[in-house]
C-alpha cells in the first residue's frame, strides 16, 4: 500500500497531471529548521530565552514534529533543557 501511495503523490504534484479540476492537490509545507541557520542562536542551558520557546507551559519538551527542529539539534536541545531543569532555572 505504501508504495502505491508514493507513486500517486508524485503524479499529483504537477497540477497539469490532475484528472479533474476537483481532484485535491496535496500541498506539503516543508519548513526548515529554525536553529540550523547560519549564525543561528547558541543552544546552551544558560540561554533561557531560547529554551522557553521549545517548552510547554508545564515545562514539557515540545516534539520536533511541531517545532520542525532538525533531529541533531533536537537531541542537543533536550539535553540542555534537562540541564536547566537540574539547576531549577526552568
Amino acid at each position: 500500500m505504501k508504495k502505491r501511495n508514493k507513486k500517486f503523490n508524485k503524479r499529483s504534484q504537477n497540477p497539469l497531471n490532475k484528472l479533474s479540476l476537483f481532484q485535491k492537490t496535496d500541498l506539503r509545507f516543508s519548513k526548515k529548521c529554525p536553529l540550523s541557520i547560519k549564525d543561528g542562536p547558541e543552544i546552551d542551558y544558560k540561554n533561557l530565552k531560547l529554551l522557553k520557546r521549545y517548552v510547554t507551559e508545564n515545562n514539557k519538551i515540545l516534539s520536533s514534529r511541531i517545532t520542525s527542529v532538525s533531529s541533531g539539534k533536537q537531541k542537543k536541545l533536550t539535553n540542555e533543557i534537562k540541564k536547566a531543569k537540574i539547576l531549577g532555572l526552568l
Binding site: Y45, L87, G88, L89, L90
Partner: protein, 114 residues
C-alpha cells in the same frame, strides 16, 4: 587539561559575605588541585522554577575553570559534605565562551539599546 563550567546553587538565607566565602572556597579548591580558575560570574539571587528542598530562591555562582580528573574528584568530595549547597552542575567544554553573559542584566540591556 580540559575546560569545565561549574554552577553552584546555595541556600537563600546566606548573607553576602557568606556567599563570597563559598565562592572563594571553591576557587581555592580548584587552584589547589592542579587547576586554574578562568572566570567567576555572580548571577545573584534568582527565583527557582519550582521549590527545591522548601526553598524558593537561591544564590547562583558560576565558575569557569581548567582542570583534570583530580580537580573534579576534589570538588565533588567537598560538595557532598557542604550543607549550604542545594544543587551543583559541572559540564565539560572543548572551548569556553567568555564573551556571552546570559545573566548579566546590565550587559544584556546595553545590547538591546544598541
Amino acid at each position: 587539561m580540559s575546560f569545565y563550567e561549574q554552577t553552584i546553587v546555595t541556600k537563600q538565607d546566606l548573607s553576602a559575605p557568606e556567599v563570597e566565602k563559598v565562592e572563594s572556597k571553591y576557587a581555592d579548591i580548584i587552584s589547589g588541585a592542579s587547576g586554574k580558575v578562568v572566570k567567576i560570574e555572580k548571577w545573584g539571587l534568582l527565583n527557582f522554577a519550582r521549590k527545591i528542598k522548601n526553598y524558593n530562591r537561591g544564590h547562583y555562582i558560576h565558575i569557569k575553570f581548567e582542570g583534570n580528573g583530580k580537580t573534579l574528584e576534589e570538588i565533588n568530595k567537598k560538595i557532598k559534605i557542604d550543607n549550604s549547597i542545594l544543587r551543583n552542575l559541572i559540564i565539560k567544554y572543548k572551548k569556553l565562551n567568555l564573551e556571552m553573559e546570559y545573566f548579566n542584566k546590565e550587559k544584556t540591556e546595553d545590547e538591546k539599546a544598541k
